[in-house]
């Protein structure tokens, strides 16, 4: 009996010491435990697949990166879980500032997450593209514009989400082309693609990475990319530059840490991610299989892009909200 008591006393003491030891170790060196990477979308999607490629190639001083999927709310829930996490560098999230800005402007969340979260790096960009089905009467942008201008509001223009970046990009394109259409929001990318192929909408706006499989098979015809330069994945598809439009939109994705994460940690992570980008195997996977355009903007550069482009996008988001409210 006495022996058992002794053993349990020792065990309790040992348990009490463990957190202390951990505390010391933390001061010593970052990272000393696995880093939790939140993917704000489900397993198997584009963002998830990309993050798993980073997981495979990243070197975090021997510590593993653990991918955790927290889906829902157009990606806002996973971001908020990160926002409220401890700013110790052990919880980060894969998202982009445009999405975070739209969560705030569209009232999904109550705090300006894009302002407060700390960027680690922006690593890929994925332009939007507008596409029609293969037997569509519109074989190019001109035919589409001609029809839309003659019949304002008749064209059914589908995309995912009624507020946020897809709608904002659509508004930019309408402005550039000078057309009025009926916007049809879908709740998933799969459904919007099925609606295009089934002829339930006339035009689909989605990301280049999403249209690629159906464009390659010839079932859908991409007719305009929303960046000034043509997309490397759709070299035959005209871009905004080709039609002499000033407007431009591309969706950025990268990695972000909770507010108040110390600078040394951000620097460490930024370096770790930039190292991955030097790996040719990784580059091949992202470009050939995921069809994302690789880029690298570090913490400071990402903040600069945000400061430069956010005001205009905010106006656009607000306009989108107003449009919806009138309906």
């Amino acid at each position: 009996m006495k022996k058992a008591l002794w053993i349990s006393a020792v065990l309790v003491l040992a348990l009490a010491v463990i957190p202390l030891a951990e505390g010391f170790a933390q001061d010593a060196k970052y990272p000393n435990k696995p880093i939790k990477m939140i993917v704000p979308f489900g397993a198997g999607g584009g963002t998830d697949t990309m993050v798993r490629a980073y997981q495979k190639y990243i070197d975090l001083g021997g510590q593993p990166m653990v991918v955790v999927n927290i889906a829902g709310g157009a990606g806002s829930i996973g971001v908020m879980e990160t926002y409220y996490a401890k700013p110790d560098g052990y919880t980060i999230v894969c998202t982009g500032w445009q999405s975070m800005l739209s969560y705030y402007v569209s009232n999904y969340v109550k705090v300006p997450v894009a302002e407060e979260m700390i960027p680690i790096a922006t690593t890929v960009s994925d332009p939007d593209v507008i596409a029609v089905v293969k037997n569509s009467p519109f074989k190019d942008v001109n035919a589409l514009v001609k029809y839309a201008q003659a019949n304002p509001g008749k064209l059914k223009w589908g995309s995912v989400g009624a507020v946020g970046s897809n709608y904002a990009a659509s508004m930019l394109v309408w402005r550039a082309l000078g057309i009025k259409v009926t916007y049809v929001p879908f709740d998933s990318a799969a459904k919007s693609r099925a609606a295009l192929l089934g002829g339930h909408i006339d035009v689909l706006l989605c990301q280049v990475s999403e249209i690629n499989p159906v464009a390659q098979s010839g079932d859908a015809l991409p007719i305009l990319v929303t960046t000034k330069k043509r997309s490397e994945f759709l070299p035959n598809c005209p871009s905004m530059g080709d039609i002499r439009a000033k407007e431009e939109f591309t969706l950025y994705r990268g990695f972000w840490a909770p507010p108040k994460t110390p600078k040394p940690i951000i620097d460490y992570l930024e370096k770790a991610f930039s190292k991955v980008h030097e790996n040719p195997e990784f580059r091949k996977f992202i470009m050939n299989d995921l069809k994302y355009s690789l880029m690298f903007a570090g913490s400071k550069e990402t903040r600069d892009i945000l400061n430069r482009e956010a005001p205009e996008l905010t106006i656009l988001y607000k306009e989108a909200l107003k449009n919806k409210a009138q309906k």
Partner: protein
């Protein structure tokens, strides 16, 4: 057909792939059998492990889990009245009463056989007419989905012919639960009471398990310490009697048909398919009053339809790269990781991969059938474990399942909350199936209605210009009026002893 043959032979000639596939099926069966753990969870947990495999092996394993997971749900549904996976929910209606009557062995063997039949018939649809069926799937636009949802709600009336008012109230409660979270068009938060965690709605696995597992456990807890009838299953025959198979041929084919059609429509799912086929079989049955009292046709309807959905869901996935449900969307992710672009081209150019999807599906169904016959002999032994040991284990599993799907504690509280709500409702004479129907169909109806009405610029009448929509709406109207039609014809429509 040729693709199927080469794919199957390819898999059979590769013992390592075959072993991985068998492991997938076993893993799926276990995940399916344990309430709280589901096929979708199994597939997403094992997805990272497939990264290190060849594409064929990876796909074989994921399909194995999928098939095993959907088939494995029937044991707990039949023996404990708790669906092992939400898709086996309808199996409880008749499987459990059968077990209570001492026909548990028969019910299990019939369920296993039905799963196999559903799987194989949907395989033929997948192999022979996938491109044509995919085209039918594409004919479904927002209006068609809306009409299908409305038709599905019509089932509520015939599900609750005993107390229609309570049934309708339950369906509305379900629809309200489905509205929690961001609305599908404007992104406005509804019924979240300031909790941002709720903005994506009530997590579906936690909600369904709360209503079925937790609620049933609480109900049965009341009988702890009391003398209760013990369900004894002596022997599970390898096959249900030939006579029984023959007299259910119509049931098998109709349920498979419904399952495949529901499967090719993205985002509708197994529960809806099995409810629809249950309702359909009852309406054409000579003995509709027996449904719900432990009737073989009820088991056939549920287990055939939910497995047929798997083959159906693989159709748009392999021909168009459009996932039919959660599991197939994870499968698609698996393809991308292996450097394959899912899409129409895959079906035309990568016939080896398509072949291994077909072959993997065929072999999974065979292995799942054989494995089930073996596993079921272990599971019936679990009945000897006293309930006060068994229930806590199931409870822990539900908590693990609810937590793992989104990795957050919040979902566990949803599980507990819906469990309590479900318990209070059932104790007051409300039945759960209409709630689930409302919960699943409500959002389908709402989001598609709103998309459709935006697309038609406010013109509701457009729904009547579409043949499929009109057909579905008429069907729904028939469901609604069925009890009255039967009264006119002088037929009895008692929903049975289970009281829905």
């Amino acid at each position: 057909m040729e693709t199927l043959l080469t794919g199957t032979i390819g898999l059979l000639g590769d013992p390592y792939s075959l072993l991985i596939l068998a492991f997938g099926v076993l893993f799926g069966q276990i995940f399916g059998a344990i309430p709280g753990l589901t096929a979708a969870l199994g597939v997403s947990l094992l997805l990272p492990f497939t990264f290190a495999m060849t594409p064929v092996q990876g796909i074989a394993m994921l399909i194995g889990i999928y098939v095993g997971g959907i088939s494995g749900g029937l044991y707990a549904a039949t023996l404990l009245n708790i669906p092992g996976t939400p898709s086996s929910l309808v199996t409880c209606f008749d499987g459990y009463p059968m077990a209570k009557k001492g026909q548990g062995g028969l019910a299990l063997s019939l369920g296993i056989f039905s799963s196999f039949v559903g799987g194989i018939i949907s395989l033929f649809a997948l192999v022979l007419i996938a491109p044509q069926l995919a085209k039918i799937g594409l004919m479904f636009g927002p209006w068609e989905y809306f009409s299908m949802g409305v038709m599905g709600l019509g089932v509520v009336v015939s599900l609750c012919s005993k107390d229609i008012v309570k049934g309708l109230i339950a369906a509305i409660i379900g629809m309200l639960l489905g509205m929690v979270g961001m609305d599908p068009v404007m992104g406005v938060n509804r019924f979240t009471f300031g909790a941002w965690q709720l903005s994506s709605g009530l997590p579906s696995l936690a909600t369904l398990m709360g209503f079925f597992a937790l609620c049933e456990i609480m109900t049965q807890l009341r009988s702890v310490g009391m003398k209760t009838e013990i369900i004894a299953v002596s022997k599970v025959p390898l096959f249900p009697p030939l006579k029984m198979i023959l007299r259910n041929i119509k049931g098998f084919s109709l349920s498979s048909f419904i399952g495949v059609i529901i499967g090719i429509l993205p985002g509708v799912g197994q529960v809806t398919a099995s409810l629809l086929s249950y309702n359909q079989l009852r309406q054409i049955s000579k003995t509709p009053e027996k449904f719900g009292t432990g009737h073989e046709e009820g088991v056939v309807a549920s287990e055939t339809a939910n497995n047929a959905v798997c083959g159906g869901a693989l159709i748009p996935m392999s021909t168009l790269g459009i996932p039919g449900d959660l599991v197939t969307s994870i499968l698609l992710g698996g393809l991308i990781i292996h450097g394959l672009q899912p899409g129409p081209l895959l079906f035309k150019t990568n016939t080896d991969i398509i072949g291994s999807i077909f072959g993997g599906y065929l072999i999974s169904n065979l292995i799942s059938f054989l494995m089930a016959l073996f596993l079921v002999r272990i599971f019936i032994k679990l009945l000897k474990v006293p309930m006060h040991y068994l229930f806590p284990v199931i409870l822990v599993m539900c908590v693990i399942g609810a937590f793992t799907i989104n990795n957050r504690m919040f979902d566990v509280w949803v599980l507990v909350g819906t469990g309590i709500v479900g318990y209070l409702l059932t104790q007051n004479g409300f039945s759960l199936p209409p709630i689930i129907l409302g919960y699943i169909l409500g959002p389908i109806i709402e989001s598609n209605y709103r998309t459709a009405i935006l697309a038609s610029r406010g013109n509701f009448l457009e729904v009547f210009t579409r043949p499929i929509s009109v057909f579905l709406l008429i069907l729904g109207l028939l469901f609604l009026l069925w009890p009255f039609i039967n009264i006119l014809r002088g037929k009895k429509t008692d929903a049975g002893a289970r009281g829905f």
